[in-house]
């Protein structure tokens, strides 16, 4: 597994321009939109996607056949992909939280506890993104998986829009800036419960996805 991590870190380094650009965009948006939530969500999304990127790189040019001859079992290969994506996502989340905290302390308009509890919702992304991407790439390969991932994103947006229309969730834009409220909650208890529930569901998706990926890779012939 050590070798696979070394490989994924090097593939990750290939995306450093994207990471730098993404971080700059996030920070610019933080100052223009005055919403630390956007920065946290944006950077977490980029970091987690980059963590999953190696899966597609491995698939390119029939590379999986060669990798499967390496001294790493198929099970460990899959587990490494899931752990790696979450770790990179968490690093992005923690770093963006640190920047957002500095901003929040200096702005004195943002309640830190509110920001911290709100930012927990982005942990969902860290589990959902690899949960969706990894089995799709393993099953369908690099080229076809892109189409399937776009379709999945479309379905998620459609579901989100439907939820917003039916007032299950909404995105609110206030006069002093953009406040993205993922869910339309009324009390702190309901809010915390919903975030906790969301995290639990995303972890379940993540675990089911990992099991599906193990079945896929162990059946697959290269």
């Amino acid at each position: 597994m050590k070798g696979m991590i070394a490989k994924d870190l090097r593939i990750l380094a290939e995306g450093k321009s994207l990471a730098i650009l993404g971080t700059i965009c996030g920070i610019v948006c933080l100052f223009t939109m005055k919403d630390p939530g956007f920065l946290i969500g944006y950077v977490t999304l980029i970091a987690t996607s980059m963590g999953c990127m190696s899966c597609a790189y491995d698939e390119m040019n029939n590379g999986m056949a060669y990798l499967m001859t390496m001294p790493c079992s198929r099970t460990k290969y899959v587990l490494e992909k899931y752990i790696f994506a979450v770790v990179i996502g968490l690093i992005g989340w923690v770093l963006s939280m640190a920047v957002a905290s500095i901003y929040a302390v200096n702005s004195k308009e943002i309640v830190l506890t509110e920001m911290y509890s709100g930012s927990l919702v982005f942990i969902l992304l860290i589990f959902i993104i690899p949960g969706l991407m990894i089995p799709v790439v393993l099953q369908f390969g690099h080229a076809r998986s892109r189409i399937i991932i776009y379709v999945l994103i479309g379905i998620m947006f459609a579901a989100g829009s439907l939820m917003a229309l039916t007032n299950v969730a909404s995105i609110a834009v206030s006069g002093d800036g953009y406040n993205i409220n993922v869910l339309d909650y009324h009390t702190t208890i309901v809010k915390s419960g919903m975030i906790l529930g969301g995290i639990i569901i995303s972890v379940v998706i993540y675990a089911v996805s990992a099991i599906a990926s193990l079945i896929i890779i162990n059946k697959k012939e290269y």
């Binding site: 050590k2 491995d58 390119m60 590379g63 056949a65 060669y66 001859t69 390496m70 001294p71």
Partner: protein
């Protein structure tokens, strides 16, 4: 040592049929056959990349189905169409291989890359076909494997570099007599020069196996007209095919025909010619 016993694999349009081979330690075995004959399928089966429908593969006495990561580290391979992501550079591959294999010799790897004029900082995708072939071979030879599986390792190389690569392989086996090598190539001169014995596969079946020396010095083409063909003792004829002048027959006892049939033409054959007569010809 690699032992393949009655290996079978069914695909929709192709079957690898009851393939048995033995690649002893300290030897280099050539594996030849036309495109789609089953060479790559056999290699994939040895490497555990496909599920087989029958038979077994043992490497140093252990079934590959029971292979641990430690066992897998004893196998080196070159695959024609597969390698690390081409966004990586040689310096990245060195670090990855060091983390992957305990026995990886980074110094040897980097020195060989330099000797073969492979730039450390260039992405693999910017390499020429020949450079890609070189890096694959150097990578496979840079750790202490007991079994080496080389699928078309010299493809895309010019004659000088090909000779250098073959020398590397010879040196690798010479350094450790426990090592077994199986190599496929469409360049028959490489096989002739490098291999101790040769297997030939056709339509998923092994149709030929013998020592290279025997093949070069005892096998020959017996060329006869129709009358001579009728009278010819065919006990040492493996297969034959119709030609304009009569028949061309493949024998593994050329001295027998030279001594007993002084009037007939007995000619040395290249591996390619032998392959043609074995594939296109009729069996006795």
């Amino acid at each position: 040592m690699i032992e393949i016993k009655n290996l079978t694999k069914h695909y929709k349009n192709f079957t690898l049929d009851d393939v048995s081979m033995e690649i002893p330690s300290g030897r280099i075995t050539g594996f030849i056959g036309a495109n789609g004959a089953g060479k790559s399928t056999t290699f994939k089966a040895i490497l555990g990349l496909i599920k087989t429908d029958g038979g077994e593969i043992l490497i140093n006495g252990k079934n590959i189905k029971d292979f641990s990561e430690k066992d897998k580290a004893q196998i080196g391979c070159v695959m024609t169409d597969s390698f690390f992501s081409d966004t990586l550079r040689i310096k990245d591959i060195a670090k990855i291989m060091k983390a992957m294999f305990k026995s990886f010799d980074e110094e040897y790897f980097l020195n060989k890359c330099e000797a073969f004029n492979l730039p450390k900082d260039k992405r693999i995708r910017d390499f020429s076909g020949g450079m890609k072939a070189k890096i694959k071979v150097i990578t496979a030879l840079s750790y202490d494997s007991k079994v080496l599986i080389l699928d078309e390792p010299t493809v895309g190389l010019d004659v000088v570099v090909r000779e250098e690569v073959l020398d590397l392989i010879r040196e690798y086996v010479g350094n450790n007599e426990e090592r077994s090598v199986i190599i496929s190539s469409h360049i028959s001169s490489d096989i002739e020069k490098l291999c101790d014995d040769i297997y030939m596969i056709h339509d998923g079946k092994i149709v030929f196996h013998d020592d290279t020396d025997k093949l070069l010095f005892e096998y020959a083409a017996v060329k006869v007209d129709e009358t001579e063909f009728e009278k010819l003792d065919k006990k040492y004829i493996r297969s034959f095919r119709k030609e304009k002048y009569g028949y061309e027959c493949l024998t593994w006892q050329k001295d027998y025909y030279m001594e007993n049939y002084p009037s007939v033409v007995v000619e040395k054959m290249s591996i390619d010619e032998m392959m043609m007569i074995l594939i296109k010809g009729e069996k006795i």
